[in-house]
């Protein structure tokens, strides 16, 4: 049955189009392992930085009706320890791993790439779009097509792994940024990162709920934004898209494919439906395929591209 979900991403065969995205469960080899055994076809490490980061002080999550606000603040054990976790995962599994890295300038991205080249990772994701470190680093790189072009190009020159650029939804014109990444040689795009950021207030204590004050939105409320941005980008680029944003059930995943994604990230839904969410969605996609007469995942049609 699972053969019907088999697809290819950048030439690599995956048993399911569902991806554990950066920032969710990817802190340790065992976190990636439990996601894989619960049905993820690809897993992503935490976004790794040159030095370890504690991230923001708590509260780092706030729930609201439509989803979650989070401001983890790029906590990670640093590139060397992070890659030990990736390699340990790969020693036990053939499941592809996306190594996600974060930096604020080309030189640091190049240092990170050099380290990732030595790892057992399968893909390199450049996180150009963390929305939760404004205070520290200013506007995300993904807001500037010039910056995106410069960094992707430099990384592509030395990366041994295919390069995925992770873009921000919080920009005026995502198409020109996606095109800049493509022109620079990006092998694929990942979108969307969290939306906003937004804010929650505790009315009794009269303070922001998140200690960082602001946090990126994820969960069901962002799906319409994700679909729109993925569709717009898909319409304009030739490279594959790892689409994500609010995917909670099988139909959501199918909609992402129709909008133009090749593979689909499932993150916040781990909270709503448990770590088993990947297998649940895999089954729901198959159910959709049965009901609508699609033999394989690759038969699911995409929307017609349009000039939007």
């Amino acid at each position: 049955m699972h053969n019907r979900l088999k697809t290819k991403f950048l030439g690599v065969e995956v048993k399911s189009p569902l991806v554990l995205p950066a920032g969710v469960m990817g802190m340790s080899f065992s976190g990636m392992h439990i996601s894989k055994i619960n049905g993820a076809g690809i897993v992503t490490s935490k976004s790794l930085t040159l030095q370890p980061r504690k991230g923001h002080k708590g509260p780092v999550v706030a729930e609201f009706e439509g989803g979650i606000l989070n401001c983890m603040g790029l906590c990670n054990p640093g590139i060397s320890d992070g890659l030990v976790e990736v390699d340990q995962f790969k020693e036990r599994s053939r499941t592809p791993v996306i190594v996600s890295v974060f930096a604020t300038n080309t030189a640091d991205f190049l240092k990170l790439t050099t380290e990732v080249n030595k790892s057992k990772g399968d893909f390199l994701e450049l996180n150009l779009s963390c929305p939760n470190v404004f205070d520290e680093f200013g506007i995300p790189l993904a807001a500037s097509k010039e910056e995106v072009f410069k960094i992707v190009k430099a990384v592509k020159d030395i990366s041994k792994l295919p390069v995925i650029a992770k873009l921000s939804p919080n920009v005026y014109n995502i198409v020109e940024i996606a095109l800049a990444a493509q022109k620079a040689g990006a092998d694929a795009l990942c979108l969307i990162n969290t939306v906003g950021p937004g804010m929650a207030i505790d009315a009794k204590i009269v303070k922001p709920v998140l200690f960082n004050k602001f946090g990126g939105l994820s969960g069901p409320c962002i799906k319409p934004i994700a679909l729109k941005l993925i569709y717009q980008t898909y319409s304009a680029v030739e490279i594959p898209i790892l689409g994500m944003g609010g995917v909670t059930c099988g139909i959501d995943a199918v909609e992402m494919l129709m909008a133009g994604a090749t593979i689909i990230g499932v993150g916040t839904a781990v909270y709503y439906r448990g770590i088993e969410v990947f297998d649940k969605i895999n089954h729901e996609i198959i159910q959709f395929m049965d009901e609508n007469g699609y033999e394989s995942i690759d038969n699911i049609p995409r929307l017609e591209k349009s000039d939007v």
Binding site: G23, V24, M25, G26, M27, S28, F29, S30, G31, M32, H33, I34, S35, K46, P52, R53, K54, G55, K57, G58, P59, V60, V61, A62, E63, F64, E65, I68, N70, M72, C75, N76, P77, G78, D81, G82, D202, A203, K204, I205, K207, P208, V209, F211, G267, T268, V270, Y271, G274, I275
Partner: protein
């Protein structure tokens, strides 16, 4: 879905030198072994096991360790704190003869457990250990419950020198227990494990926690990847036996492995 509640501290009990119990009037609906995330929105949100919980009250017992808990210690009755939870797995409420092994300020959740076990008709024995008598908590509360209770300190403040593992060993030699529960420092649990080969047990674990909703991955335990905030913090014997990091390392806020 929003499980946050911002509520007033209704009482504060000084337990020992650096240990206080905070009482809240609120229907939390928690089970023994579960925990809450507590914050004052001044920087930091930390997990605390419930020391007690019924339909209108819950309590947590806090040891002053760092910046966050020092701030908690300055709070007064009537001050607001914000609570998320309850989270995580809970202890199996057994019948028959049971042994509860507590260490230091890890002991309080066993009080909540002891109450529920007694309600279920179990015969409860509690052994409680700490470094010195300044760290030993809940002695009177356990005695008032009417369980078989004994305690010990490593410094011998109360006569005998030893640990709760020593007390557990003597108790296990004398009585046939149907189930064993333990909460305390990880090295105490590690020392206890080999003497429980013949017994069914559950341990309450502690790990650095951030989101408490099973997403961030900071509290996963190797090699299974189970999340202590969802599948834990209470883990049964069959899972404990598979853990390779148990008693060896834990992870800090960055996710880096820190050896014990």
């Amino acid at each position: 879905m929003n499980k946050r509640a911002t509520i007033k501290i209704s009482n504060i009990i000084k337990e020992a030198k650096d240990i206080k119990t905070f009482v809240f009037k609120h229907n939390l609906g928690a089970k023994p072994g579960q925990f809450i995330m507590l914050t004052d929105f001044e920087g930091g949100e930390k997990p605390f096991s419930l020391a007690d919980c019924d339909t209108n009250t819950f309590t947590v017992t806090v040891k002053r360790i760092g910046e966050f808990t020092s701030r908690l210690f300055q709070k007064e009755i009537g001050d607001f704190l914000s609570v998320r939870g309850p989270f995580g797995s809970s202890f199996f409420i057994s019948k028959g003869s049971v042994l509860l092994v507590g260490g230091g300020y890890g002991t309080p959740p066993l009080y909540f457990l002891a109450k529920e076990l007694l309600k279920n008709g179990a015969s409860v024995t509690v052994v409680n250990g700490a470094k010195s008598k300044d760290d030993l908590v809940f002695c009177d509360r356990f005695r008032e419950l009417g369980v078989h209770y004994s305690n010990i300190t490593q410094l011998g403040c109360l006569g005998r020198e030893g640990t709760s593992v020593d007390l557990a060993q003597s108790a296990l030699a004398k009585t046939k227990f149907d189930y064993v529960y333990a909460a305390g420092p990880e090295m105490m649990l590690k020392a206890l494990q080999p003497i429980l080969k013949e017994h069914e047990y559950e341990f309450l674990f502690e790990r650095y926690m951030k989101c408490a909703i099973g997403i961030c991955g900071n509290c996963t335990i190797d090699p299974l990847g189970i999340r202590l905030c969802v599948e834990g913090p209470v883990l049964p014997k069959k899972l404990v036996e598979q853990l390779t990091e148990f008693g060896k390392y834990h992870r800090d806020a960055t996710g880096k492995r820190i050896e014990y």
